[in-house]
Symmetry: C2
Subunit: 169 residues, 2 copies
DNA sequence: GAGCAACTATAGCCGCAGCAATATTCCCTG
DNA sequence: CAGGGAATATTGCTGCGGCTATAGTTGCTC
């Protein structure tokens, strides 16, 4: 029990990261639900809204989220049924289709975002003084860049740097 | 586009936290799979093994993981079928039952842990010099303590402080 | 000691999401 | 321009896990 694995600083470190992350996720989910959104739906709304024309091809949307292409198909199904999104055929490539944010989708996002930002501030960024926060973010950025989830990532990147295949459309 | 929400420092911050966390999760999942474990199964194995007698009542196990009680029932079903765990009736309370780690379960954990620790070091703790790491962990601890996932948390706590109801057993 | 509320584990039902298979379309090569 | 390989979206199938209902057990109160 002297060099118990459970006391290993690495276990402690990863525990802190995951608990902080999970705790925030739970707060977010609760607030999203108040506005009739699931976490994935919010993420989809964010990704699409920040994209040019408030739209993205299904594949590209999948690449920018934590979802597979079939997962995207179903989320877009639900959100289209709820009027938040709309499918649009790609004129130049008849295999592709766009998911486009509707006015209702934009409104829903606008209605959800203030509370979301407030929660981030209350439970995360506001918990630390500016210097400590910078320090934390620097560390996270280092880790993020190292582990680079590839498709899962990109939230901070203004453009995915990929610009995969939205060329002809 | 001047005060675009997407460029809000809070969005950037939470993006970094989630991407780092998700990236590490993905690495972990891949390594767990090499040893025939899912992330939840690994978590269950860790929680039980660090508990006195390598066992925990189903309810307490649920409280210490990200699972509901019915979720625990099913995970334990699977792991019992695979020989990693074993159910044991609680002698003093016939409603309760224990999940106990078997020798095979311990062996599986021992076989999985070194690689797990190595991944943590390679992609997380080893990415930063000691001072920066301390800084990062301090920040995370602050956030963790604030958001305190309640049941979901506890990974770093040697004892859950609760010591819920394992009294009579 | 009978009744009742709280607790414990489980089973039914459901939605979600990944993988693999499929149909369609595109593009490149000969 | 014919044919084959790659890309795109969708669907079937599966496993996972939460919520709710249920059955059994406990302890408390009258």
């Amino acid at each position: 029990m002297d060099h118990n694995v459970f006391d290993d600083p690495r276990i402690t470190a990863i525990g802190l990261l995951f608990e902080a992350s999970a705790g925030l996720s739970a707060r977010f989910a609760a607030q999203f639900e108040e506005h009739g959104l699931s976490p994935v739906e919010f993420e989809v709304l964010m990704r699409l809204t920040r994209s040019p024309g408030h739209q993205l091809r299904m594949t590209d949307l999948a690449a920018q989220t934590s979802l597979s292409t079939s997962g995207v198909t179903r989320v877009v199904d639900r959100m289209e049924r709820d009027g938040l999104l709309r499918r649009r055929a790609c004129p130049s490539d008849r295999r592709s289709s766009y998911a486009v944010v509707t006015a209702a989708g934009l409104a829903r996002l606008d209605e959800t975002l203030p509370g979301h930002l407030q929660i981030i501030e209350q439970w995360f960024t506001g918990q630390l003084d500016p210097a400590a926060l910078d320090s934390l973010l620097d560390g996270l950025r280092r880790v993020r860049d190292a582990v680079h989830p590839g498709a899962t990532a990109g939230s901070t990147d203004p453009a995915p740097a990929h610009v995969p295949s939205a060329a002809g459309c």
